[in-house]
Amino acid sequence: MSVFSIGMNVNADRIEQQNVVSVALNVNGEKMERQIEPRLLLSDFLRDDLGLTGTHVGCEHGVCGACTILVNGESVRSCLMLAVQADGCEIKTVESLSSKDGSLNTIQQAFANNHALQCGFCTPGFLMSIESYMKNNSKQPSDEEIKECISGNLCRCTGYSNIISAIKEAYSSKNSQ
């Protein structure tokens, strides 16, 4: 018999159905609640349960960074987190970046201007790593700092140089605003 408990003081949250847990979270500004298997990876939850397929899965062992999203504003590999662990969290995915009218945000636009993507598979992960970095570092970073910021994301197409240019451009256009 498998048992689920979510802290003995929160019986109300306990789901009686075997091996199913409830998660309530905020994804891209929308509150939601879902019943899921505890083993469900957050990456699969976003993609399969919520249809947010912009978050890509590249290695499922926490190296490639394609599945990077923001959890409470911090960059996290969604393949290394269970969906149930995101209970109560605020999640942001690549789908949240552009504005409602569809226009690209600063970093997305800088990627387009600098040809910072080719096949585009790794791109959402880069965008989310950079999004978090830019929120936490307002000062224009050095080349070394930029490289370190994206060193947890693998890109097999671009050779990174245009991604570095895009980050520089994003910083200058942000600072000139």
Binding site: E37, R39, L40, R47, D48, G51, L52, T53, G54, T55, H56, V57, G58, C59, E60, H61, V63, C64, A66, T93, V94, E95, L97, S98, G102, L104, Q108, F111, A112, N113, H115, L117, Q118, C119, G120, F121, C122, T123, P124, L127, I146, K147, E148, I150, S151, G152, N153, L154, C155, R156, C157, T158, G159, Y160, S161, N162, I163, I164
Partner: protein, 784 residues
């Protein structure tokens, strides 16, 4: 005429990919879709005595579990890939031995490499499918494992495929001139062994297939992360016995290819079959562990080479005997091996040449062409030899290069070889000495040599390494384009070559837009869908721009001419007196009296209102298949400056310069992006990446923790320069550029490291140059 060709037009592909609205195979979700997981061999070589699938079949959510015997009579085994068989004149010329060695769909009686598919579970979702895979019990009887090609080719070696009699799957020899007499005239000879390791292309998106069968119209719809959707369609039709027209294969957004997705895999046949069998959509997405084991690997050549030269550095002759450690199955005939043979002499005049290639089977994952496909291996051999010759003669290696270059006035240069496509291999144009000069100028060669001497006295080891390549690009047999104007006046270009990062939607629209005198925004390019046109080949071998680009250009030009003819009827003006610009056609003398593309498109429709001139078919569409006369040769130089930490063996790339000739540049931003990306992969091959098996044939580098793909920290920004010798072999003057960046880095970096460590006279005969290996070489040299 060319307003957009040659410009940095921003990419049309980017918006969807930046907003997460692109659609990759894994993103496809269909009602009632089942998911598959695959049981793969954990043995490199073993008999399968029994497979017990009973527990897996009973597991919750499991729809089906299939093994090889379930496919008998339903799915035929692979034949060899006819797309890769040799043209008859080449076959006549080199008289190779090539034994048939296709891969089974699922292993039946025996497994021949770790990762080979044995059983497929179809379940309600991937989690349950993986649970069920774990419940399958396979009883193996281990067989002797072969991981060394030299062992495998021995007469006494156990034979992996009994019907082949031994493990030498292919053998060929190419001869030019008189090797024996040339060696007799030599002042010096050098004999050495050079090895390029096994690597994996590793696109960030793994392989994946989704299939859906619609009974009402017998339509099978397949989405696959492939470089060759037409080839996938052809083999599904042949092996599952379906009317080809009832199959539609779509390569949606594809997350990188680089070669490993450039042929058909068993999953692309069996998953569609299972969707038909169960009348519900089935999805299989390869995970990274599967990818490392079962997506085909590449390179893995060992060359035993001997070069004869004069004391002034003139190379007289080169002979080479190489093995390609192919893994367990070869479905690609001589593809990479013959490429190596054809390209080995590169830019150099070597009148006497003899090369023997052997493709040897071992208990490893099968081989596939990967970015460069035989050229990085060849270049590593040739350019290491240039440095060894220079060492022997105690001259600067660039002097040896200069001494032996094919000169611009010798173009077109007959190599006395056949190319893989069966045509005479003739280098059409280029100026190699000038290319090297440009590269050395950018890098500041003379100044570097000064600095190097000064730094050495301070105990700092920096070195410079040059490498060069030529590459036959844009191979046929053909690529087609349909260009049409729809009834709203919008221009469409459909091509058979489907992209996976190469920016077809942008660059091909530039070509088309220039023909019609419109902006690329008014052109939509579609690719990666077999329903778009009847025939297609694919994007690989640096062929997209050459073949699809030419097809688009010719089709656009012809449609433009047709539109001018129709407009002539409409305006009652001779077509020659008309101008087409910004979506309008008007008499040159009277621009205000115009008809729009939309109006012309409507007038192109059949019927009483048609304005199509007599003798011309109605319709606003032209199809053209471009058939290249032969490949077109791009070329380039790479120069690496590195620093070696003598104590640790770590190599840092301080500067990297590329000069290249890809003919007409369609979009500089895209071309530079291809080169930078190629160099990054080449750096991987030079310093980090290697697929390693242990003596039991177990894959040691099965994860991204072991298989080291360069990150932003390891890849420098490449400085580039361009030569632009337009190709006479296609109407737009382009040469392929996709692979070039990846070809030279192993050689340029190895040369630079040897140059840095020249005081110790270190020879690097294999890559990757891991710090451990380099430190060992340094230690060895110091002990002497």
């Amino acid at each position: 005429m060319s307003k957009y060709v040659g410009q940095n037009v921003k990419r049309k592909e980017d918006y969807r990919l930046l907003t997460g609205t692109g659609i990759f195979v894994a993103d496809i979700r269909l009602d009632n879709m089942a998911e598959a997981a695959i049981l793969r061999s954990t043995y490199a070589h073993a008999k399968i005595k029994n497979i017990d699938i009973s527990k897996a079949k009973e597991y919750e959510g499991v729809i089906d579990v299939v093994i090889a015997s379930d496919l008998e009579g339903k799915v035929k085994p692979f034949t060899e890939f006819v797309e890769f068989t040799l043209p008859s004149n080449l076959e006549q010329e080199i008289k190779p031995t090539i034994k048939r060695n296709p891969e089974p769909m699922l292993a039946k009686d025996k497994v021949t490499f770790v990762g080979q598919a044995i059983a497929i579970v179809v379940a309600n979702n991937r989690y349950l499918a993986e649970d069920a895979v774990a419940l399958i019990k396979v009883e193996y009887e281990p067989l002797p494992v072969l991981t060394d090609p030299y062992e495998a080719k021995k007469e006494a070696a156990p034979v992996i495929h009994a019907e082949l009699n031994n493990n030498i799957q292919s053998h060929f020899e190419v001869k030019v001139g008189n090797i024996e007499s040339a060696f007799r005239q030599a002042d010096y000879t050098i004999k050495t062994q050079l090895k390029t390791p096994r690597v994996s292309g590793n696109p960030l998106e793994t392989r994946g297939v989704v299939a859906e069968y619609e009974e009402r119209s017998s339509q099978l719809q397949v989405w696959s992360s492939t470089q060759v959707p037409y080839m996938v369609r052809s083999y599904i039709s042949k092996l599952v016995n379906l009317v080809e027209d009832n199959i539609r294969v779509v390569a949606p957004d594809v997350g990188g290819g680089f070669g490993p997705k450039c042929a058909v895999y068993p999953e692309e046949i069996v998953i569609p079959y299972l969707a038909m069998k169960h009348k519900r959509p089935v999805k299989w997405i390869e995970d990274r562990l599967e990818h490392m084991q079962s997506t085909r690997h590449s390179r893995d050549q060992v060359h035993d080479v001997e070069v004869a030269f004069k004391s002034d550095g003139t190379i007289l002759a080169l002979k080479d005997h190489f093995l390609l450690d192919n893994g367990a199955h070869n479905s690609f005939a001589l593809c990479c091996a013959y490429n190596s043979a054809a390209h080995l002499r590169g830019m150099y005049k070597i009148p006497n040449y003899n090369i023997v290639g052997e493709i040897v089977l071992t208990n490893k994952t099968p081989n596939v062409p990967y970015r460069g496909a035989g050229r990085p291996e060849a270049v590593f051999v040739m350019d290491r030899l240039i440095y060894m010759i220079a060492d022997k003669l105690n001259v600067d290696p660039i002097e040896v290069s200069r001494k032996n270059f094919i000169q611009p006035e010798e173009m077109p240069y007959e190599t006395d070889l056949f190319y893989r496509d069966g045509t005479h291999m003739v280098l059409e144009n280029g100026d190699y000495p000038e290319g090297l000069k440009q590269a050395l100028n950018i890098v500041g060669y003379e100044q570097f040599r000064q600095e190097q001497i000064e730094e050495r006295t301070k105990g700092r080891y920096i070195g410079i390494g040059v490498s060069s390549y030529i590459e036959g690009t844009g191979i046929g047999p053909h690529e087609g384009a349909v260009v049409r104007v729809d009834s709203s006046g919008h221009i469409l270009a459909y091509v058979g070559s489907s992209p996976h990062g190469q920016s077809h939607e942008t660059t091909l629209s530039q070509i088309c837009a220039d023909e019609f005198g419109v902006s690329p925004d008014q052109v939509t390019v579609k690719a990666g869908d077999t329903s778009l046109l009847p025939y297609g080949v694919g994007t690989f071998a640096s062929r997209g721009a050459v073949t699809a680009g030419s097809a688009v250009q010719v089709a656009s030009k012809r449609l433009r001419e047709k539109f001018l003819a129709i407009a002539g009827e409409m305006l009652e003006v001779a077509p020659n007196d008309l101008e087409m610009k910004e979506g309008k056609v008007y008499p040159k003398a009277l621009p205000s009296k115009f008809v729009t593309l939309r109006e012309i498109a409507l007038a192109a429709k059949p019927g009483p209102r048609s304005k199509v001139p007599e003798g011309m078919e109605p319709g606003a569409s032209v199809t053209h298949y471009f058939i290249p006369p032969s490949v077109t040769f791009s070329s380039g130089f790479h120069v690496a400056i590195v620093e070696v930490d003598k104590q640790t063996g770590f190599v840092t790339i301080l500067k990297y310069v590329v000069i290249h000739d890809c003919g007409r540049v369609l979009n500089p931003m895209v071309v530079d992006g291809q080169i930078q990306g190629g160099v990054a992969q080449g750096i991987g091959g030079a310093l980090y990446e290697e697929i390693i098996y242990d003596e039991n044939g177990q894959l040691v580098t099965g994860t991204y923790m072991d298989y080291l793909i360069p990150t932003a920290m390891e890849v420098p920004v490449v400085e580039m320069g361009h030569q632009e010798f337009l190709s006479p072999r296609n109407p737009i003057g382009v040469k392929g550029v996709g692979e070039g960046g990846a070809i030279c880095p192993p050689a340029s970096i190895a040369n630079a490291v040897c140059d840095a460590m020249k005081p110790l006279n270190i020879k690097i005969n294999s890559v990757p140059i891991s710090p451990n290996r380099l430190r060992d070489l340094i230690q060895l040299a110091e002990a002497q």
